[in-house]
């Protein structure tokens, strides 16, 4: 098989895992890593699943590896924080079957809450990191990652970034080759990390990293491209492409393995070139290590630690000018918004009306922070809404949170929110928690989760009942409401925030973009009744616009949810069949 096709970086990672003979994969969705698992799930030969969170995913992959097969866990950069507990210790145990953890960083913050650099965590966990620079390399590098994993007895991190994950380039396909399963043998010193074992394994970890730093000088993923001896670049990942774009004749040391660094290869390269730049996105991980060896390079004094790099950025530093010919004009920005028919908008319109603050979480509903809804006060990380609100109550007392709620999505609640709810029950909270149950993981593009009744492979499974779950951990007041029933929502929220007992309100209505959703109705303005008060515009629905002749509702965008109608006191909006 040598078919050539254009492939998304994430698609190529999935293909590489397939070709490498991976048997078990576990992941939690997160932009820009989500497609890897969705694509891998299409290969019948590979067991793939959505786990409730990244810690669970890594532990599942670890179990599979220890039992003797090749395994995979995928996540976005902040997911690695959640998974870091098993990750640090798996560095000690090592593997049996090869194990790879794909982590997708998001320089430029296309869809994340921070810009952390996975290489920093990998360094402190002493794990090798491979970093491809296009789709073909993504496929080849993950296969190589399994070889290293088994040869050096270590989990390997494959680091991708948004630009690599979400760009497409040409890939040559190969067949799947499944290595023979490794035999499982009980080994307390290797797999039971109690102090006596871990003390011994720590030595193994250090020795392994030292050996990799030497051996990697000869790995095919690290290569010197000889060129002009006056100027050279040490670079990796997508940043390599920018170097080649701008300086096709320069000398380049392209690092495919960015931890540990191939010390001798780097020393040789630097001694052969007059001026060497380290061109790496985010943290100066390579630069600081190279400097610590007493070598002189240019780096972050020229290039930013923030955002994505580009060819123009490099041109500006090297030549003092970029390619821009036309000036950028001021234009009204077009921020992402909640979709027409989104149930979150309905809940937020009520919170806005009641002037309630919301401790927020990670999901589409973060968009409730901006105008015109303006209800989200905090967004920290997955699950933090519930625990942060608890902290506010313990700091300022129960009266202070009479106009506060926590809002969290169904998938996020199952990810880590449930732990925080247990803490509220245990430590006598009087707060109100709103679970926005839209029956899917919305933000990342509709992934199944433990309460949807379907697996990643599309099979039917048990659907966890969120109300029963909340009751079972000890929440006495659990109230389920239709997210579009604003009168009932208003009454329930008012009652709950003013009460003295912990309450969970589950606002239920499926995501408007969910497959199979039917929209038999649409909303239409009744011009003669409209007094142009603008109340309907306050809900921030993109289907509505104000014109000199009154309100216009775009019929292709409108999903007929009727929220605008509920807020019109003059009967100037009607719901009609399509």
């Amino acid at each position: 098989m040598d078919e050539k096709i254009i492939m998304l970086g994430n698609d190529a990672i999935a293909r590489g895992a397939f070709e490498a003979g991976v048997k078990v994969s576990s992941a939690y969705p997160g932009t820009p890593s989500t497609e890897i698992s969705e694509i891998l799930a299409k290969y019948e030969e590979v067991y793939t699943e959505w786990a409730p969170n990244e810690k669970v995913a890594v532990e599942v992959a670890a179990g599979a590896s220890i039992s003797g097969v090749r395994s995979l866990a995928c996540m976005k950069h902040v997911g690695l924080n959640v998974a870091s507990d098993p990750v640090y210790t798996l560095s000690y145990t090592g593997v049996n079957g090869g194990m790879v953890i794909v982590v997708a960083d998001d320089p430029g913050l296309a869809s994340s809450q921070n810009e952390q650099d996975t290489r920093m965590i990998a360094r402190s966990a002493h794990l090798p990191v491979l970093e491809p620079s296009d789709s073909q390399e993504a496929k080849e590098f993950i296969k190589f990652a399994y070889e290293i994993s088994e040869k050096y007895d270590t989990p390997v991190i494959l680091r991708t970034t948004t630009k690599l994950s979400h760009s497409q380039s040409i890939v040559e396909l190969n067949d799947r080759v499944v290595p023979e399963d490794k035999v499982y043998e009980r080994s307390v010193p290797k797999y039971v990390m109690m102090p006596a074992s871990a003390i011994a394994r720590h030595k193994v970890v250090e020795a392994r990293e030292d050996k990799l730093a030497v051996d990697s000088c000869n790995f095919f993923v690290n290569k010197i491209e000889d060129g002009d001896k006056k100027i050279g670049f040490i670079t990796s990942g997508v940043a390599y492409q920018y170097v080649k774009e701008v300086m096709p004749t320069a000398s380049v040391l392209k690092l495919g393995m960015v931890n540990p660094l191939p010390k001798k290869l780097i020393e040789d390269f630097i001694s052969s070139v007059e001026t060497v730049y380290v061109f790496e996105e985010l943290e100066p991980v390579i630069e600081e290590q190279v400097r610590s060896w007493g070598l002189n390079v240019k780096g972050k004094e020229c290039f930013t630690k923030q955002g994505e790099y580009s060819a123009n950025l490099l041109k500006k530093v090297l030549f003092g000018a970029d390619d821009v010919v036309f000036e950028k004009e001021e234009t009204p920005n077009r921020p992402p918004i909640l979709c027409p028919g989104c149930p979150h908008r309905s809940v937020f319109s009520v919170l806005n009306k009641l002037k309630i603050h919301a401790a927020g979480d990670i999901g589409c509903y973060t968009l409730g922070a901006v105008a015109p809804l303006n209800v989200i006060d905090t967004t920290i990380c997955m699950g933090a809404s519930i625990s942060a609100l608890h902290g506010i109550e313990k700091a300022k007392g129960k009266e202070f949170i009479k106009n506060w709620v926590a809002v969290i999505g169904d998938s996020t609640f199952l990810h880590t929110g449930v732990n925080s709810l247990i803490n509220m029950v245990y430590n006598k909270s009087t707060a109100t928690v709103l679970i926005l149950d839209n029956r899917t993981t919305g933000m990342t593009g509709h992934q199944e989760h433990a309460a949807t009744g379907k697996t990643l492979k599309g099979e039917d499974t048990f659907a966890i009942d969120l109300a029963v779950l909340c009751k079972s951990v000890g929440v006495k007041n659990v109230i389920e409401v239709n997210a579009f029933d604003i009168a009932n929502l208003e009454k329930t929220i008012k009652q709950s925030v003013n009460g003295d007992e912990l309450t969970v309100i589950i606002a239920k209505a499926p995501c408007a973009l969910l497959k199979g959703q039917k929209f038999p109705n649409k909303c239409v303005p009744v011009a003669e009744k409209c007094v142009q008060c603008g109340m309907c515009l306050k809900i921030g629905c993109p289907a509505l616009t104000k014109t000199p002749n009154g309100i216009k509702i775009d019929e292709t965008m409108c999903n007929g949810c009727g929220l605008c109608m509920s807020y019109c006191k003059f009967g100037a909006i009607e719901k009609v069949g399509r």
């Binding site: 296309a110 774009e245 580009s310 036309f326």
Partner: protein, 186 residues
């Protein structure tokens, strides 16, 4: 050749750039595509790039380097016009979608965008929505716009249509082909 396709989430920007990429691959070029995912699908501004040539390194096209800019919406054309080369071509679908900043009255939608852009740039406009609606499905507007852009990108009409027919959903092959031809013949 550097192509940039911009629009509003849900307008078919991604599909359009994929057809361009596949056509270039079929013609024997090295190709790279880049897309913005994540929050963009929530009605935000969507940007994709297609580059093809003997050898392509960078997966994106930067300011000052775009040969053909395809915009599915007027305001988006204005927002990204500075990506064009001095002699670049702008293809704009004559349609207005108000961003939330305009809907809530915080900003105003600029008037006469196309006329203003025509002063500095070579602009071809088309009302893809109207043509698509006439054909019987307003959703194929992206094929209309692609048809017009195709003439400025290169390749033969047959090459384009072959890839288009392999890429769009089975049920819509006929109407998408008609839509492409309508744009191509403009």
């Amino acid at each position: 050749m550097n192509i940039m396709v911009v629009g509003v989430g849900g307008q078919g920007t991604l599909l359009t750039s994929r057809i361009i990429g596949k056509t270039a691959l079929q013609a024997g070029f090295d190709v790279k595509l880049s897309e913005v995912h994540g929050m963009a699908q929530r009605g935000g501004s969507v940007v994709t790039f297609v580059r093809f040539g003997e050898k392509v390194y960078e997966p994106v096209v930067e300011e000052g380097n775009v040969d053909v800019l395809i915009s599915f919406e007027r305001l988006e054309a204005k927002r990204y016009a500075h990506f064009l080369k001095k002699d670049g071509v702008l293809i704009v679908n004559d349609c207005r979608i108000d961003p939330m900043t305009v809907v809530i009255g915080a900003k105003t939608y600029p008037e006469n965008i196309i006329e203003a852009l025509s002063k500095d740039h070579t602009v071809y406009k088309i009302d893809g929505g109207a043509i698509a609606k006439e054909l019987g499905n307003s959703k194929v507007l992206n094929s209309v716009v692609l048809g017009l852009a195709a003439k400025h990108i290169g390749f033969s009409e047959e090459q384009w249509i072959e890839v288009l027919q392999k890429t769009v959903p089975q049920k819509t092959i006929e109407i998408n082909t008609l839509a492409f031809k309508a744009g191509y013949e403009k």
